[in-house]
């Protein structure tokens, strides 16, 4: 067995990953946490889709649902045209094609395994021979910028945070996946190291022909790395669109507030009023109608009565707000 890269099937127009009406409700009746509630989106071949949102918006739960690490309450995941689950693509096969990198670089590595054993674990599980695995581990370490001779036999606690995150990326690449889910991969790193890892991610994407799902709370990082951006609020999609369009012309009041909350980076043009008051609410008791309406500056009577549908702003840009209007192309 060689664990060769998996060939493309549906052609470039078919989305690599399609998520349909995905939901996850925790808890029993009475106090249900609607962590993710009817989320749909697509990841196209070769693109980076960024997901932004504040704590409790369901972005991390979404990533774990896609990976199958937790079972969804409802919804479907389609990979390259094929339904994932019984009767379609098997979970094991799906997991060869989709891998994940977590935020906490230390908790992501088994402290009792050497770097080489950690990276080689998945290929060994999938039946690659010991020699072939070792060769692949060395290639991967080199690919993520770690000298194989120096790092292969080390233990996680001997590495810095940035080095550990490189190891985690190498491990995610070990099965030659087509999609990598990155859950806040640079949030725990210092700025100077963050830039190194972001550059690496850009390089690897081109080298291995990858697609990324990049989850972060940092709007600047998401803007830098993503082709398209999805904004989540309280378990729902608020807005989704191409990065330049969305950042330049945000259509959902929440997206606008989020963008306006970023520090200005210019001491002469400091922010003067906070775009929102209060904290993001707890997903235990979700507001009726539009979930953002209690914090929204442009709230209207109907906002608390009905939940807005996704409005198409242009070919590729949608927002779930009554005020969003279709812009002629």
């Amino acid at each position: 067995m060689t664990l060769a890269p998996i060939p493309d099937r549906g052609g470039p127009a078919q989305p690599l990953l399609l998520v349909k009406d995905l939901s996850k409700h925790f808890g029993k009746s009475g106090s249900v946490v609607r962590a993710v509630d009817g989320v749909s989106f697509a990841i196209r071949k070769g693109e980076t889709l960024g997901i932004v949102g504040e704590s409790g918006c369901g972005k991390s739960t979404t990533s774990r649902l896609i990976m199958g690490l937790i079972d969804p309450t409802a919804g479907e995941v389609i990979f390259d045209g094929e339904h994932v689950g019984p009767g379609g693509l098997s979970v094991a096969e799906f997991r060869r094609q989709v891998q994940m990198v977590f935020q906490d670089s230390y908790a992501s590595l088994n402290p009792r395994l050497t770097i080489s054993e950690s990276i080689g674990f998945a290929p060994r599980v999938h039946g690659l021979s010991r020699e072939a695995t070792n060769a692949r581990v060395r290639d991967l370490l080199a690919a993520v910028g770690l000298e194989p001779d120096q790092f292969a036999q080390r233990y996680p606690h001997e590495l810095s945070g940035g080095q550990r995150q490189r190891v985690n990326i190498a491990r995610a690449l070990a099965l030659r996946p087509r999609l990598i889910i990155l859950d806040e991969p640079v949030s725990a790193l210092d700025k100077s190291v963050e830039a190194q890892v972001l550059n690496l991610l850009v390089d690897l994407k081109a080298e291995f022909g990858l697609s990324y799902l990049f989850i972060s709370h940092d709007l600047n990082v998401v803007q830098y790395i993503s082709d398209r951006v999805l904004v989540m609020y309280l378990g729902r999609v608020a807005e989704i669109g191409p990065v330049d369009d969305l950042y330049a012309h945000p259509s959902h009041p929440y997206t606008r507030a989020l963008l306006a909350s970023r520090p200005s980076m210019d001491p002469d043009h400091r922010r003067t009023t906070p775009p929102l008051t209060g904290d993001p609410p707890n997903p235990v008791n979700v507001p009726s109608g539009c979930r953002f309406h209690p914090r929204c500056a442009q709230v209207m009577p109907k906002c608390s009565a009905a939940e807005p549908e996704m409005v198409k702003i242009n070919a590729d840009h949608q927002a779930a707000c009554f005020l969003a209007e279709t812009v002629p192309a």
Binding site: E54, S55, S160, G162, Q163, D190, K191, S192, V193, E194, A195, Q196, L198, N199, V202, H217, D218, L219, N220, V221, Q223, Y224, V243, D244, Y247, A257, L258, S261, R262, P263, S264, M265, D266, P267, D268, R270, R271, T272, T273, P274, P275, L276, T277, G278, D279, P280, N282
Partner: protein
């Protein structure tokens, strides 16, 4: 000597049986009443230790401090424990990064504010309660009476940090120390807290020392910025000067590595390698091993800060051409 804070050649070491960590290695600065200084640095740069040294809050048994450290006319290093205790919380107060762990979980917010007021001003419980209500009003916590009776875990992250600020302000300090007070908060809450701190600083005329790793946050609140690396200030100056005309290669690297608008599609400049081991510092410039313009001269001695106090100055013998971020 009329400065609110006057620091000269401050060093802080943590001594244990196995090793000595040189956390702060000669820091000089002054802070005037009503001025906001941001200490900018990455993890392990010594920024939090410097901040805590101003209140002598580092672990008493392991910490060795030398140099001159004067806050509001009081010498902090030689003061007795009793003198320090009466300064803390009264003329100097601190706001911490993580309000969930920095507040006592089994005492109500009201109790935690009242005990500070009672400790320093000896007022009655009723008067302390009245002050607590005013303070919650000051930090814009609605339904104050109910919130005073709440325990920390019953409040949201933003409200907890506001309560933390209320505690710090309870005796109207002249100097407020803030240790990454917005790092643990969500983006939309972070900006609220930043604006609140800025308004309170102006209204109360406090001096503020604000520690952060986030250049953007510093840009929102600082009058002056000090960039810290391996326990030393490597660059210091007015916020505009430092952000627009950085002199030190480390500051330039940090500016280039901080992702912000308009960088999409460009390659990020990075600083190679990782910060030095504080138990075993190099003799020369601590940044030299990672510096693109370092040469043999950099390794000979620690470069001094050029220029006068208050001016824009950097700790580099090469002072490469000014670069725009």
């Amino acid at each position: 000597m009329s400065n609110l804070v006057h620091v000269r050649d401050l060093t802080v070491k943590f001594v244990s049986r196995d090793r000595t960590v040189h956390a702060v290695n000669g820091v000089d600065f002054d802070l005037d009443q009503g001025e906001v200084l941001c200490i900018l640095g990455e993890s392990g740069s010594g920024k939090s230790v410097t901040l805590r040294a101003l209140m002598r809050l580092n672990p008493p048994t392991r910490t060795v401090m030398t140099g001159t450290l004067n806050v509001g006319g009081q010498d902090i290093i030689t003061a007795s424990d009793r003198e320090i205790e009466s300064i803390r919380g009264r003329s100097v107060a601190m706001v911490f990064q993580e309000p969930m762990t920095a507040l006592d979980p089994v005492f109500t917010i009201g109790q935690q504010i009242r005990e500070t007021v009672i400790r320093h001003e000896g007022v009655s419980k009723a008067d302390a309660h009245k002050r607590a209500l005013e303070l919650l009003d000051l930090v814009q916590i609605p339904s104050a009476e109910r919130r005073l009776a709440a325990y920390p875990h019953e409040l949201s992250g933003g409200l907890r940090q506001r309560a933390m600020i209320a505690i710090a302000l309870s005796c109207r300090p002249k100097l407020l120390l803030a240790d990454e007070p917005t790092t643990a908060l969500d983006a939309t809450v972070q900006i609220q807290i930043l604006l609140l701190l800025r308004r309170l600083q102006r209204e109360l005329g406090m001096g503020v020392i604000f520690v952060t790793h986030d250049l953007g946050v510093a840009g929102e609140i600082a009058d002056r910025i000090a960039v810290m690396y391996a326990g030393r200030f490597v660059e210091e100056g007015a916020v505009r000067e430092v952000m627009r005309h950085a002199k030190h290669p480390y500051t330039q690297g940090l500016l280039g590595a901080t992702v912000h608008e308009g960088m999409r599609g460009k390659r990020l400049t990075t600083i190679i390698g990782s910060p030095p081991n504080l138990a075993n510092l190099p003799t020369g410039c601590a940044f030299a091993p990672r510096c693109p313009s370092a040469d043999a001269a950099c390794l000979e001695a620690v470069p001094g800060l050029d220029g006068a106090f208050g001016a824009h100055r950097a700790r580099c013998i090469h002072q490469p051409a000014e670069a725009m971020a």
